[in-house]
């Protein structure tokens, strides 16, 4: 090596550190070890060491910052920059969150070490299976696209068998070394008890079961049970707990034998190997890792409990010929833990890692996907999202290409809704939504190289697929879904993605979203690398309703656009109405609001009510609902309510949907804006109105308050479930709307909250989800 390469060695395992770090330093690397570790899982084999810091050539302030970093938690931008600048290789523990963080943000060589997995578990599953029963395929896609600088270093040869093809291809055999793995033959015997090691009996179900089985099968033989206990096992005097060195040495040199229970084919504990080192006879169960390490014909191998008992009894009886046979033959098991043996493979592995072709950072492609045919709020959000992002990409000269995708729909045949994006050189792509069955999913995973280790149980039977007629977004490195409504079935999307969740209205208005649709939404959210929410209340809902890991829920700025219509244009001598901008969705609290209006007019309310919004034309009592795309039963109730009440017929004017400029004029001429809905992510009529100098009377719910506070708008709130409260609000606004209007912020102050001012913030949040190069 021309210059010493620097490695971030992300483990706290004491024994691993004792062997691997000196070996790597000896091979010419500078190695940094993490200094912060929380023992929340009771991991006694972990520790922290400053021993190797003196060998580092890092600037002191950098070393200090790293030493203050908890690498098991999200990393700051500055730490990630340090890692990218100062480290050539990362050796990482196979914890999905940590691996994903580096896959996203680290551009050097990433090596994940895998050793000791229970059952048929593989690193593929470990990395892609999320705790809440969904498979996150995005992490595999990131590995696939890295190709040249991702490696899986496996501690045992047979670990490779269970990996998906993708990870098999990048796996290297880099065996685990054991300190002084040579037989020392210090065992003397003389204490007629067997030793069995079983830690954490009261705190770990696996060990509790192992303990019970041991007591059941071998409890009658004289024995002690070693291993640290978090809670003492008071009812069993044979359980010794943690022992001081002298007692430990006594046990390993004097007790008659060790019994090792594990039949895990791909996991082994250190203690049977320790026993072999001391020269103590080891009786172990067949079918476990020791078979693989050369133990298949050993005399200490027991094929059944009866066989093990028989062999242990012979050892307890002091059968010297058998003892010699066992101790001599078992030495073979240490061979693959030997320093020289391991070093040989590590040198080959590191050479392979070093010689991989490093392809210069290629242009990243980010897809912004509008998953359903929107033309309202979500459409506006998506367009603003793209404009902001594209602008920042150009300012920062980022090595990124942005594409926008929308579903094929007749709505978009009428006019070019996306010309604004095309003008900004954003590639626009159409896709269709298909539903596919389990057989297809499995075939896809197999072709993608993700089988055989994707947990089949976590896959749905039918899925929604987005087909763009090309690579089906396989050409994209990352995607941002502009909403969580993607088809009627769980989303199947190979590329990693962030999903924007605007609200959890189903939590507050259950009838607004069916239980099945909610289930699908939650599934889609859990598969996402992260969620973008635009208000703190929605963030809380994501955590508490969607059960999303708080670290993955990112509060992004709301993308507000204020009307271009000048608030000073048009002088109204006398304002005579207030504006209720709504739509025909059943969760908009119409019926209660109409009751309130009726009471308001009965009590002499003088202002007219003008209703506008998508499909509100169907509120008119005589309107035909034959082809109306609305919930007919609900709309009929509204029609009847208005029809039956003369006061409502007299005072309400229903305008239906209207062009934006007409709406703005209408809003400008209103005394105030009225918003009786709730449960959504806040209503933008309030911000529109404020910008036009018009105050608002709105339902009091957290997201509405968040939005108004964000924009600095003072709103007169009411309880949306209390008709009297609404009526009081209406009367008060009728009296005080001019006073309220004067308390609104100036237009330029408001404008600073508009989406264009949020571009940099949004861009930086996006860069945390998918790292890319910048020329600036």
């Amino acid at each position: 090596m021309d210059k010493r390469k620097r490695m971030l060695w992300l483990f706290n395992h004491t024994s691993l550190r004792k062997t691997q770090v000196p070996m790597l330093i000896d091979m010419g690397y500078e190695v940094y070890c993490p200094k912060i570790y929380s023992y929340e899982w009771g991991d006694y084999s972990a520790s922290v060491s400053y021993d190797f810091d003196s060998s580092l050539t890092l600037p002191p302030e950098v070393l200090e910052e790293l030493n203050d970093t908890d690498f098991y938690s999200p990393l700051t931008f500055s730490v990630m920059q340090i890692i990218n600048s100062y480290f050539d290789v990362i050796f990482s523990v196979a914890i999905p969150e940590i691996v994903e963080r580096f896959l996203v943000s680290y551009s050097g060589t990433l090596v994940v070490q895998g050793y000791g997995l229970l059952g048929n578990l593989s690193c593929t599953e470990l990395l892609s299976y999320s705790f809440n029963n969904s498979t996150r395929l995005g992490i595999l896609d990131m590995i696939k696209k890295r190709r040249n600088n991702f490696w899986l270093a496996l501690g045992y040869r047979n670990l490779k068998e269970t990996e998906a093809l993708l990870l098999q291809n990048c796996s290297l055999y880099m065996p685990i070394e054991l300190v002084d793995a040579v037989p020392q033959n210090k065992w003397k015997g003389g204490d007629n008890r067997i030793v069995f090691v079983c830690p954490k009996i009261r705190t770990n179900k696996y060990y509790e079961k192992v303990y019970r089985e041991f007591c059941n099968d071998f409890g009658d033989l004289p024995h002690i049970i070693g291993g640290r206990q978090m809670l003492a096992v008071e009812d069993d005097k044979n359980v010794t707990g943690f022992l001081p060195d002298d007692k430990y040495i006594y046990n390993m040199t004097h007790l008659a034998a060790m019994f090792y229970h594990s039949q895990e084919p791909r996991h082994i504990h250190y203690h049977p190997l320790e026993a072999i080192k001391w020269g103590m006879p080891l009786i172990f169960m067949a079918g476990g890792m020791l078979d693989h390490l050369g133990g298949i014909n050993l005399p200490g191998r027991a094929t059944s409990v009866a066989d093990a008992r028989k062999k242990l009894k012979r050892l307890l009886m002091g059968d010297n010929i058998f003892i010699k046979k066992v101790t001599k033959s078992q030495e073979v098991l240490l061979q693959s833990f030997n320093k020289d043996y391991c070093r040989r493979f590590w040198e080959v592995g590191m050479r392979k890692i070093e010689s991989a072709l490093i392809i210069p950072g290629k242009k990243r492609r980010i897809a912004v996907i509008m998953p359903a045919p929107y033309i309202g709020g979500v459409y506006d959000y998506a367009i603003r999202f793209c404009i902001n992002l594209q602008e920042e990409i150009q300012i920062h000269r980022a090595n990124v290409e942005l594409i926008f995708a929308y579903p094929k729909n007749e709505l978009y045949a009428e006019k070019d809704y996306f010309s604004i994006l095309k003008k900004r050189n954003i590639q626009v792509r159409e896709f269709i939504i298909e539903t596919k069955d389990r057989k297809w999913i499995e075939a896809t995973l197999e072709l993608a190289g993700y089988q055989p280790r994707i947990n089949k149980l976590s896959l749905p039977d039918t899925v929604t697929v987005l087909r763009d007629g090309m690579r089906d977004f396989g050409d994209c490195d990352y995607a941002f879904f502009m909403s969580d409504s993607v088809g009627m079935k769980p989303l199947f999307f190979l590329c990693p993605y962030t999903m924007v969740v605007h609200d959890y209205i189903q939590r507050y208005v259950p009838e607004a979203v069916s239980a099945e649709a909610d289930r699908v939404k939650c599934y889609n959210q859990r598969q996402a690398s992260s969620l973008f929410v635009t208000s703190e209340p929605t963030r809380q809902d994501a955590i508490n309703h969607g059960c999303i890991d708080p670290e993955r829920v990112i509060l992004s700025p709301p993308l507000i656009s204020f009307p271009e219509f000048n608030r000073k244009s048009g002088i109204y001598k006398e304002k005579t109405y207030f504006l209720w901008s709504t739509n025909a969705a059943p969760h908009k609290n119409h019926l209660r609001a109409l009751d309130a209006l009726e009471l308001y007019y009965q009590q002499g309310g003088a202002l007219e009510c003008v209703i506008t919004g998508a499909f509100t034309q169907y509120f008119k009592p005589k309107a035909s609902l034959t082809d109306a795309p609305v919930v007919k039963e609900y709309i009929r109730k509204i029609q009847k309510k208005i029809e039956k009440c003369e006061l409502l017929c007299e005072h309400i004017s229903i305008k239906g949907n209207m062009p934006k400029i007409t709406y703005e004029k209408l809003l400008h001429g209103a005394c105030f804006a009225f918003h009786p809905g709730y449960g959504d992510n806040g209503n933008f009529t309030v911000t529109d109105a404020a910008s036009l100098g018009v105050p608002s009377l709105a339902s009091d719910y957290p997201a509405m308050r968040y939005l108004a506070d964000y924009a600095g708008i003072k709103v007169r709130y009411f309880d949306p479930f209390d008709i009297d409260s609404i009526v009081d609000g209406l009367h008060e606004m009728e009296q005080k709307y001019i006073e309220m209007s004067n308390q609104l912020p100036e237009a330029d102050v408001l404008n600073r909250k508009s989406f264009s001012y949020q571009a940099e913030r949004l861009y930086q949040l996006i860069r945390k989800q998918i790292a890319f190069d910048e020329e600036m």
């Binding site: 190709r147 072709l357 075939a443 072709l447 690579r471």
Partner: protein, 545 residues
Amino acid sequence: MRIGVFLGYGPQTILSKEGLGRYIGTLIKGFQDEGHSVVIASPHWLVKSLDGLIDDFSIRKADVECITTTNDPVLWKIYKKIFVKKKRGRLYRLFELILKKIKCFFGWTANKIAQTDSYANFIIFSIPFLFITTAIILPAVILLSVMPFWLVCVILLFGVLSAYVLIKKGGVGLDDLRARLSSSVKAVKSHDISASFFFECMFSLFRIMEHSEQKKLRDAINHCQDMVDVWFVPSLFWPEALNINKGIVVLNAPDLVTEEFPLSYATGGKIYTSAMKGLQFTLQKGKWFITYGDYIRNELLINEYKKSSYQVVAIRHANNNMMPYINIPNAINILNNTRKNYTKAFTESFLGKYSNVRYIFYSSQSRPHKNILNLLKAFEYLLRKRFLPIKLFLTGSFDIYKPIGEYIREHNLEKEVISFYNVPAQKLAALYYCADLVVNPTLYEGGFPFTFGEGMSVGTPSVMSDIPQTREVLEPAGLEDIMFDPYDWKAMAEKIEYALNHKEELYQKELPLYQEMAKRTPEVEAAEYVEAFKYFIAQEAAEKA
């Protein structure tokens, strides 16, 4: 050098019609011309087809040593007897006609049974069915009752064995047998043969049979007395070749398209997944590889399958000159056909009613990664928004990849987009020759696409998609501006429109590259293969030393 060529093709392959088959023919011819001796190993069922290839490419048969399996498997023989079409005699045709009429009669009767509201009619129309059922079942029952017991046992055993093979080796799990049967019924009803359980069973049986023949072939090679310097395996589909121990094994690794487009190819079900397993295995276990370009070498073999760079050599295709296929008297100046001075007689003979039509051309199979949908979008835009009076000629079938046919029908492009499916080489050459422009919108290829050289060899320039496989050739030649972003159909349309308006200029611009490419004759290519073989042999020897 003694070069072995391992051909593990399945039955019914006509080598001289397969792209890869023709490629192999060219190489073998080149090896011979370079003075190397050639050994060809193939299953017995391929012998006839191989003879055809040898004839077509003027390979000296006397100098070719052949290794083959001893006989065809029984399954193939039976299948061939039943399903492979032969010329039928008059009597057979008469029998077929009668069978057809009977089928019609039963169809008519079944309709009547379904429609009738009278019991009398129901009974009358049911008679033919009762009759036919009795006529089939009765002889079978009689036959079984008179058969010796051992024969009944043999038949039953055969049935059980077949089921076992299907379940165990064919990968058919018992758990989903019921689900598969019901899905097969649905598939048959909807004429979706690819999803049919019966089709999958047949496919699995054939797969086992082919695999077993490849094993036998490998054993035959390993039992030969003489060593061969190198065994060249031109495909990744034959993993058994990896176990040849008479000489080093060098594999051609064209691409791994199914892995790049998993969502599209998953629709093909087992056909692709089982093939993929073989490919992946070969890529994992193989040691020496030849690719068609640097991109696949670096991305697939080195980065993905972690081969060392010395294990993989990239050899580009030889130029496919289409000129010899067009036998034009008086040697019309076709070096530059942007002036389109070919004769009416010539175009009419090949293109019939389309002889006066202006068109852009893409010769390719209809497969998802060929990006034909975007080409259709670009074409429709040029036709209907930019009013360019052109057609689009393709050579892929519209039925093989459904979205293409659907798009054409949905947008009423049936008369504008024409498929010349399965055309002979001469007509293909004529299609290139008469085209205004060759457009290649592909998203993925094993190497630099043939279409560029094929078009330029008869004077038609190209515009192509900007993918690494094309960029690695076009960028050094200063031809970046003949590329377009294949994911952006509008960009593709703009490039096509520009090219149509600057054909002459484009042709002149592309000519130097084509002239360079034209120097890559099959002989040059074969020599490069031999060089690669020598290099691998030296590497292997160095490793052993």
